[in-house]
Symmetry: C2
Subunit: 283 residues, 2 copies
């Protein structure tokens, strides 16, 4: 396992960690100044600015874009809506290419409003991903399927385990083009009895595209916006990193913390300093 | 699939559905009077009363005890604590036998306070279950392992999928004694991509011991105490029941709803009437 001491160049900050309180250009500067090697910006921030200018700034600061967050949800009630969702993702993929992103993070979406048909939603996801794979190839930006915790199955993602993500990858890309894989986020998959086996399988298929860390608080007050700082929760972070690095992952370690009541209320400089310290001590 | 119209004798009420607001004997009367064929009481209610008298009342009203809720959590920090947890479950199993329960519902417990060792907690669970199996045989009450939604992995149950439960069953009972199996609760496993396959596997192994229904609300406000009434959420209840009955389940359909802000505030008679109506119309 890589030693992260003094290696913030191996670490990345997902801008959600700072709560999207400042313009992206300012956030980029903060992250670079704190010594991190990477950044993962969000579309809404980029859309509020100028993507070319943002790309130029990131490049000038020598930051790796570890991922571009995130896809428009795919499952839809009508085929027109579904087509529009795919199209919105195509546009985002082109921006991801402009940014030089290592991957486009796909949070696939939950059940369409009013639907109870999980199978159909999952089929739409596979279909949409297959359609986007071509664009990903054209843009040179791989699709990183991010399984979300099962608690979000209704409203955010019907993709809930790494095994399920790998099954989609094999179905749409059995020649292993390198243009589709998984984003492993400890928050979403730490509980999975198949975690080690699934990460190993993803490694063998060369599909490990991103690795996100934070922590699961034992007393979670809000499953969406109460993620913990690494070290404050129950996840055995070194064990998971050892597993993913042994399986071949050699990309950056990205911090992504949604925390409306705690970290998003703190000074961004303090948050970055604590991220840096925890990355080097407990991850 | 069985037709539940006019067949409340095939339906059971878990007393948690009424919010534990009244003495158990009153709850038993209400459930019998409403026409349900079964009841699943909780230990704390039974412990507040006299188990022999409760058993007599339930028998006189011809109610099936579809499950006795629930086990003392197994994982512990010290071996003395672990042994005490096992012993507490042995005592509960004897009460389950007195009640004539069809099964003893095992919610296995989360990580011990301060622990990040999921593997060790899971090993303790398997070990504890193996120890309890003997008592279950002596008492004639099967252990129903209930996988809980992964959102409870830290604090309530490190057993999170039916597949994982079946693996434990095979490990501790490969001669298939009939004294251990799974309790399938739609709230906990509706999201599982392996749901159908796992239920079928459980059926083939004759390990389907209980079936619990409620609903998953799209906008869940509290993952512990905001379960929905059947029909109010996103779970395709007829599809799940068809799967489990095709797999050989012929026991009762048990309603278990934790709902601090809604159903637990309503009149118990109203709750039972709506349960009856929904069981016959949307389950």
């Amino acid at each position: 396992m890589r030693n992260l001491q003094g290696r913030l160049d191996l670490c990345s900050i997902n801008t959600a960690t700072l709560g999207h309180r400042e313009p992206l250009s300012r956030t980029i500067d903060r992250i670079a100044r704190a010594g991190f090697g990477g950044i993962a910006p969000w579309r809404r921030e980029v859309d509020e600015a100028d993507v070319v200018q943002i790309a130029r700034q990131i490049k000038a600061l020598d930051l790796t874009v570890t991922g571009y967050c995130r896809s428009t949800y795919l499952p839809a009630t009508t085929s027109a809506e579904f087509a529009a969702n795919v199209e919105a993702n195509r546009a985002a993929l082109r921006d991801a290419a402009t940014l030089g992103a290592r991957c486009f993070v796909m949070v696939v979406g939950g059940l369409p409003e009013g639907s109870r048909d999980l199978t159909s939603a999952r089929n739409q996801v596979t279909e949409g991903i297959a359609m986007l794979l071509e664009t990903a190839r054209d843009c040179g930006v791989p699709l990183a399927l991010e399984p979300l915790h099962p608690v979000y199955a209704a409203d955010r993602a019907v993709l809930n385990t790494i095994a399920q993500a790998l099954e989609i990858c094999e179905r749409v890309d059995n020649d292993r083009s390198g243009m589709i894989g998984v984003a492993v986020d400890v928050y979403h998959c730490w509980w999975d009895p198949a975690l080690t086996a699934s990460i190993e399988a993803a490694g063998r298929a060369e599909r490990l595209l991103a690795y996100h860390v934070c922590d699961w608080l034992r007393e979670t007050r809000d499953v969406l916006l109460d993620r913990g700082m690494m070290g404050d929760g129950v996840i055995d972070l070194p064990a998971v990193r050892q597993t993913i690095e042994r399986a071949g992952y050699d990309g950056l370690i990205e911090v992504e913390i949604f925390s409306a009541q705690d970290w998003w209320r703190r000074d961004p400089e303090e948050v970055l300093a604590i991220c840096a310290e925890r990355l080097q001590s407990v991850c």
